[in-house]
């Protein structure tokens, strides 16, 4: 019952946020038509020719008030239709998103899981060697890696491993010769292409997990029940088990939330590596002021964050006996 109410509230939230973004994207300077118009003028057309061309491609120069557009958008939305792209004229937004989503989903989840895992392990090591150089090296590397903006890390990796030392490809998700699907050549090519993007996700992500894990581990280590477990003569393995579960639990909510925010982080990483995912789709849509595509991407990000939140609440109640929904 509570689940149904939470989902209903979430749907309302997604609707509200999407409506706000509907108006926000139209507040940005410029619009799809002027973007295309200026591009054509730059290519050497006369202003009149360019205007004709734009009218020809877009088939119309919409001049309805924003509010009427909003009503049209709502009517479409009720029918499950997110509209069609302006830039890639006529292609439905849902098609664009579903083509891009799998790439992002796979890379983001690999990146998140690996950086979480690395962070947890390093955090426990750093906590158990608290007063040694090991801990300060781990903590400093972690916080510096976390502090450097992702786009700097992405460009740095690209420069090092593609320009200086050409070992990894600079763009794309797979080799031009492969056909996407469950075949070995494609999977190998995919793995080869995602090394740098994943490296960026992991470098940018593991530091915060490491620091958070370190602090919760130290907190739990000092808890009375850890000393009691030792005095009870429990095996080392079981004591580590007690320590691990109690320290990871507080990170769980953070983990679920970052599932959603990683879509946001993917904008910089995917556009740097020209990776055909949601982030790249959104970045391109923003530069061409492709309103429907932008709205679709924002809606997806909003929905992921909100539903990850609901899921985190429910799973937390399952995992931690002290919490009930």
């Amino acid at each position: 019952m509570k689940l149904i109410r939470r989902i209903a509230v979430s749907l309302v939230l997604i609707f509200v946020v999407s409506s706000i973004t509907f108006f926000l994207v139209r507040l940005m300077p410029g619009n799809p038509y002027s973007v295309m118009y200026h591009k054509l003028v730059m290519q050497g057309m006369t202003p009149l020719q360019a205007e004709d061309q734009v009218k020809g491609i877009m088939n119309a120069m919409p001049n309805e008030p924003v509010f009427v557009q909003y009503i049209q958008w709502l009517t479409q939305l009720v029918h499950g239709n997110l509209g069609t792209s302006i830039e890639e004229t006529g292609v439905p937004v849902t098609e664009l998103i579903f083509n891009a989503l799998p790439w992002t989903l796979v890379t983001v989840s690999i990146g998140l899981f690996v950086s979480f895992l690395i962070g947890i392990v390093l955090g426990v090591i750093s906590a158990s060697r608290r007063d040694t150089w090991v801990s300060s090296v781990i903590d400093n590397v972690g916080s510096i890696a976390h502090a450097i903006p992702v786009y700097v890390t992405a460009v740095a990796l690209l420069y090092l491993f593609n320009v200086v030392w050409h070992v990894f490809p600079s763009s794309g998700a797979y080799g031009i010769m492969e056909t996407p699907g469950l075949n070995w050549p494609f999977l190998a090519s995919f793995a080869y292409h995602i090394v740098l993007p994943e490296g960026t996700y992991i470098l940018a992500g593991f530091g915060s997990w490491e620091l958070a894990m370190k602090s919760t581990t130290i907190m739990v280590m000092n808890d009375d029940f850890m000393m009691a477990a030792r005095i009870r003569g429990l095996t080392r393995q079981r004591i580590m088990n007690y320590l691990g579960w109690n320290s990871i639990l507080p990170l769980f909510t953070l983990f679920m939330l970052s599932l959603g925010t990683m879509f946001g982080g993917s904008v910089f990483i995917e556009s740097t590596y020209a990776f055909p995912g949601i982030g790249n789709l959104l970045a391109t849509a923003v530069t061409t002021r492709d309103y429907p595509v932008m709205e679709g991407c924002f809606m997806l990000t909003t929905a992921t964050i909100i539903f990850a939140n609901v899921l985190a609440d429910f799973l937390y109640a399952v995992l931690d006996p002290r919490i009930t929904m």
Partner: protein, 260 residues
Amino acid sequence: MRYFGQDNLYDMSYDQQRRLFWEKVAMVFQAAQNTLNPLLRIRQQILDIAQDHDIDFQQAMNSAKQLCEIMYLDSERVLNAYPHELSGGMKQRVSIALALLLNPSLVVLDEPTTALDVISQASVLRILNDVRKSHNLSLIFITHDISVISEIVDRIIVMYAGRIVETGPVRDVILHPRHPYTQGLLASIPPLRGNLSRTRALRGQPADLLHLPHGCAFHERCPRAFSRCRQEAPRLLTDDHGQTGVACHLYASDSGENVL
């Protein structure tokens, strides 16, 4: 540190140590509320102890149920509960029950009643007293409250600044305290009836363990200190059987000989 003539605890490996812990020596902590793993049901925590000490699950559950009964706990409810679902007094009794699970011969109790209200305090003390007789075990009761333990213990060891200052059977120490610190402790207990103004506190502050005063650690607060107390730390002088003893210059001759 040795346990009943066995090897030094500090020289043992982790596994040797953990065998001794809880099977021979168990402990009840001051803040028993926090000594249970918050994520596991009491039943699971009992099973964890049983498994790590190679005890049959069924046997462990049976003795746990018995112990719950002794502790006046509803075993069905308590064993299936998470720690946060129990009250402070219940958790304290659960942790005492856990301490007795493997039939240890020695239980160390570190102020087991301070976190409890007076009623629970009394019932926990009564239970401890019964259990000690029925299970034939020794208790080491660490507390600052002499009045609480005088009902339960056989012998009292009074410590000040980390050293033993007086030891003896409970009757002797309570009725005829010899060390000025013990006298002060007893005088500071408010009487149940009569004039409260007769209650006196020791003057001064507890000794700073980083800067212990020269000589007897207690001399700055001692109403009966004399010159020797400032120069020389007293040794613990015991009677022939080692049953009673006191570390105070008031009871020693100049040669340090036993004058008891």
